[in-house]
Amino acid sequence: MTQNISRRSFIKGGIAACAVAASGIPTSASGADKDKQLATLLDIGKCIGCGACVEACREVNAGKFPEPKKPFPKMYPDRAKPEDWSEKKDINDRLTPYNWLYIQSADVTVNGEEKTITIPRRCMHCTNPPCVKLCPWGSAKQLENGISRIDPDLCLGGAKCKDVCPWEIPQRQTGIGLYLDILPAFAGNGVMYKCDRCYNRIAEGRLPACIEVCPENVQTIGPRDEIIKKAQTLAKETNGYIYGENENGGTNTIYVFPVPFDVLNKAIETGKGKPHLKSVSDSMGKANNLVAAMAIAPIAGIAAAVGTFYKYSKKENEEKKDEQK
């Protein structure tokens, strides 16, 4: 039933996104409603760590995986190192350009019982994604439905998206992409890859592969406001803990864990390609607060000029009066 409701909501969301697309709004700026972005709910209490989602992700997205040209061009200075995953395509215990989803596990105590919790990890699809907003070339994109994806035809592989991502999700493959046609020795270093939440399947009205194949129906997808309500209800019913609702200002990947995420964070293996589960403050929000200064600046500037003009006029009038005397 849950899955049925989810599918219905998902189709509704898809129709709404299509309507927006048909109206031509994507050709200009539009204030997309965060609540209507498509979000996924992961009920971690249901996950058995079978890895079906990981396999499905690899299979469905195989055509998007990099096929680098070798040998890689020599890069200068030496600090720029190539990153090559093309000989390690089978790695599935971390995020790589060939593995956009993996299962993280944590041994924890739940209600006095030792338990292994398994967590599918991939891009969180932030509602205001720093990887997209801070990409210097516009090669990372956010779609109207909230999906963030990296365009492999535009990405130069500078890895800024990875540096500004609170979870360091995007992963680089050298020897592919636009940089090869520009200055491969001096700028760029390949293409960044990460989960695009099967944007092409969603555009066709289908579910992302990881959701479709899950035998335990761990994930549901739908408009964010509905998913948040579901997550809150689920958390109440199961005494669970929500992760992703407010992290980095809000994400479109909402986890409900049976144990607090700070406990889980200590129990999971973190590091390169293995994202943490810490609390994350709003990365973009801090800078956006400075915009108030930009709004006040022209008023202050004009006021200062008017003040100078007033002083000057007053002085000039006084001088004229003195001359008349």
């Binding site: 200009s28 997309a32 210097p136 500037g301």
Partner: protein, 148 residues
């Protein structure tokens, strides 16, 4: 502009930092060891350069508004903008316009078309390059903003 020396020096300092932090939006300073120079490490920290760029943008908007209002009310009656003055003013206006759109884009819920984002990114970069070359030309050939 140079009538008020303090504002002129603030303008020069702001141009220096907004340019550095602007180029710092690209991952180049670490790769080319510039961030290794003592005191320059901040250039490789993307959020720091982002904040500094925003603060300097507010200062540039303030100084430009002051200069424009001052020119219209007072100094424009005594002296006129030179050709290079008009050119620099136009380039700064273009930078402010594209910058404002990029700032709006950075707010949550604003999804711009991909082509518009690429256009804004590239035009902002092109305008700053043109502004820097024009400023360098004016510095070398002692071209002033106004006729006196």
């Amino acid at each position: 502009m140079s009538r008020n020396k303090n504002i002129y020096y603030l303008y020069l300092l702001t141009i220096l930092f907004i340019t550095l932090s602007g180029f710092g939006q690209m991952p180049i300073f670490k790769r080319y060891y510039i961030a290794d120079i003592p005191g320059m490490g901040w250039l490789a920290r993307f959020y720091i350069t982002h904040y500094i760029h925003y603060i300097c943008a507010a200062l540039i908007i303030g100084i430009t508004s002051y200069a424009a209002a001052d020119y219209l009310l007072l100094s424009g009656k005594k002296s006129k903008l030179t050709v290079t003055g008009y050119l620099r003013a136009a380039l700064i206006s273009g930078l402010i316009a594209t910058g404002i759109l990029l700032v709006i884009r950075n707010f949550e819920g604003y999804v711009f078309s991909h082509n518009l984002i690429i256009f804004l990114d590239l035009s902002h970069l092109t305008l700053v390059m043109l502004f820097l070359f024009t400023s360098l030309y004016c510095l070398i050939f002692k071209k002033k903003w106004t006729t006196s």
